[in-house]
Symmetry: none
Subunit: 219 residues, 4 copies
Amino acid sequence: MSAKRNTIRSRKTPVQERSQATVEAILEATIQVLTSVGAEHLTTTVIAARAGVSVGTLYQYFPNKQSVLHGVLEMHLTKVVVALERACKEVREEPVAVMAEGLVGAFVSAKMERPDASVALYAVSSNPEANALMQRLRRRSLRAMAGMLETAPDAAFVDLAATTEMLYGAMAGATRAVLEGGATPKMVRSLREQLVVLCGAYLAAAGAASVEARVSLRR
Amino acid sequence: MSAKRNTIRSRKTPVQERSQATVEAILEATIQVLTSVGAEHLTTTVIAARAGVSVGTLYQYFPNKQSVLHGVLEMHLTKVVVALERACKEVREEPVAVMAEGLVGAFVSAKMERPDASVALYAVSSNPEANALMQRLRRRSLRAMAGMLETAPDAAFVDLAATTEMLYGAMAGATRAVLEGGATPKMVRSLREQLVVLCGAYLAAAGAASVEARVSLRR
Amino acid sequence: MSAKRNTIRSRKTPVQERSQATVEAILEATIQVLTSVGAEHLTTTVIAARAGVSVGTLYQYFPNKQSVLHGVLEMHLTKVVVALERACKEVREEPVAVMAEGLVGAFVSAKMERPDASVALYAVSSNPEANALMQRLRRRSLRAMAGMLETAPDAAFVDLAATTEMLYGAMAGATRAVLEGGATPKMVRSLREQLVVLCGAYLAAAGAASVEARVSLRR
Amino acid sequence: MSAKRNTIRSRKTPVQERSQATVEAILEATIQVLTSVGAEHLTTTVIAARAGVSVGTLYQYFPNKQSVLHGVLEMHLTKVVVALERACKEVREEPVAVMAEGLVGAFVSAKMERPDASVALYAVSSNPEANALMQRLRRRSLRAMAGMLETAPDAAFVDLAATTEMLYGAMAGATRAVLEGGATPKMVRSLREQLVVLCGAYLAAAGAASVEARVSLRR
DNA sequence: CATGAATGAGGTTTCATTCAT
DNA sequence: TATGAATGAAACCTCATTCAT
């Protein structure tokens, strides 16, 4: 009857400690419910119950169900981005082989921190809102990776943006496949190893090809 | 539900032809509705309407909503697998560089055949049923790819399974990123190029490392 | 989550007889529920139950609760307008005293046809949508009344619009007071009599004053 | 709930003054919220916020939401009644024409003091509680008007009660129509003029008819 | 076989009211 | 007394599925 005033952001800024705890409980509960019953049967009532609060309380901190999912997704993805950014900073000025290792290590570790959550969140990440969020955080990751690659002493990239995107897409895709396949320790170990090989080889190729290209341009 | 395979009539009766057409109309309508209103608002009634039939008819060909989605997903993914299988067959015995090119070309082309459908289907592919289907078709792709890689004259792979999975994951992930990012012609071109570089470099590295490994083992 | 596509009109045109019957049952049930439990406790579930259908059916014919109320109000008010229009047509060219009698008789009779409904509907007529509907039908009544007054042989009205509005407001207000006061037969009889006196006196005064005014203007 | 009448302190303590201010702030806030968001979206929390207090405080002065609305309605209607009573006192012993003018002037002025509030309150006046209140204050107005009419030197009314009710209903109805129609200054001016004509004519007619009636009865 | 009206369980969201601080 | 976070009953509305025609 009324025009929906829904935003995706929180309805009430949780400055107080109790509020903070409540919000965290809700987000955690959401992941738990998501992993236990699946996205299909995820209801606000169940989330609230699992969080130990009433539905009303949930709606005091989140304007709607969407925003709860948005919150979980953001929390999860932000952790990955932060880990990636830190890794990128640590391997600046290093050879691409080291970069590949650092990058892959950070990414896989971050995703495998909570494999259940990672898998569960794939199920809620396919809608315009979520997509926007993912694109935003993806671009943040790409920036960090591009910044790192620029400092590589043994490689130069003609199309840095394309290379970065490819790298990110490959890591994300391979990791997702493992996660959705069950992610046994063995699979994860193999993923790390192969991903290092793949990223290392790609960076070497893309960086070298570029050097040649630049050299040939100079002539 | 009833086995009609052992009837005499092997040729399609008019009725069966009509059925075939109806099923296809429903599947196509599902994709259209999916791209136009999103997975959230996908209802059987709307699908039926778009397909030009009644809900009742829809339920005569599909036991439930899930199965319709399953059908679309299967149709779409099967096309990709078939394309991949054909490409794998065509580049057998070729150098890995050629394999990379053939593989990437087939995969990207298949996915970009109907970018809208590809994107829309991501939204319905995160549930146990769909996951099982995807794993099944993924394994079929992996088999084809492994079969191809084994025939490479200029490379040998110690852990063929791991290499194949990595390759598939990287292609799928990078392609998905582009699709979800909008998939402009320019992006697609870049995707193809970079993906060829990536796959080529990876296969060379993984194949070479293996050769060395085998050599060192022999000693 | 979705943009509300609510209109006030019916969702499905009830051409079929069963549909027609269902819509009528719902409207009638709405009045009954309204008079028995009041507007505060009027719920779509209860309406549907009283109508002998399910909520789902109700929502197949009305897009939302508002539109059900709108429907009832429209049905009720339309009857009154129609009665008024007929009365206006019948007393054209008659003296204002006759007009007053005809007008009052028709209006009061129409309202008292279902006193319970009349009273109940007052409770749902205070919102923008309802107000718009009432204004629309009110203007239709005013047009009919003005058309009638113009033909009065024994009166001329300078500000016909103002006179008509006043007449309508007075009739409506006095009738409403009686309805909300309980509307015993005695009260209704008194209402008719006094209203005839009031309207007759007012029309005589307004029509005569105008004649004088016109006369004085001519001089 | 506790009787505080027989305490020594008859003068208002600061606390009571504050209470008085709080109550008034809440009542005023209610009107503001009512006019801005409508009765549908009127919530105690919003009222409290607009009044600059917390919900808890609101519930310290009013037992429930109903009572807040009751309070506003009473305040508003009481002002009208008081104005009417004063006007009735002032035109005692005057001719009915003067009475009509005084009555209409007072009523319209009182209602137009705060047109927004008048309109907004129509929306909350259709429920048993509110109806009872309105009937009570209406009867008080009727008493005042009857008392006045009895003193008219140039008219005598057989059914004084009926005449008074009719008068009140007509004034209320016509005024309401103008208020709900937007109440432009021009409309209000017209309302006053026409209402004076209407009331004057009606009182003259009802008073004269009665005289004749009485005369004929005497014979 | 096709139709589409009917069903009703269940999901989301609101908001009057309470009570610990 | 004031506060406002928490509560949870209850309302609205959707949509997968059925079945009489």
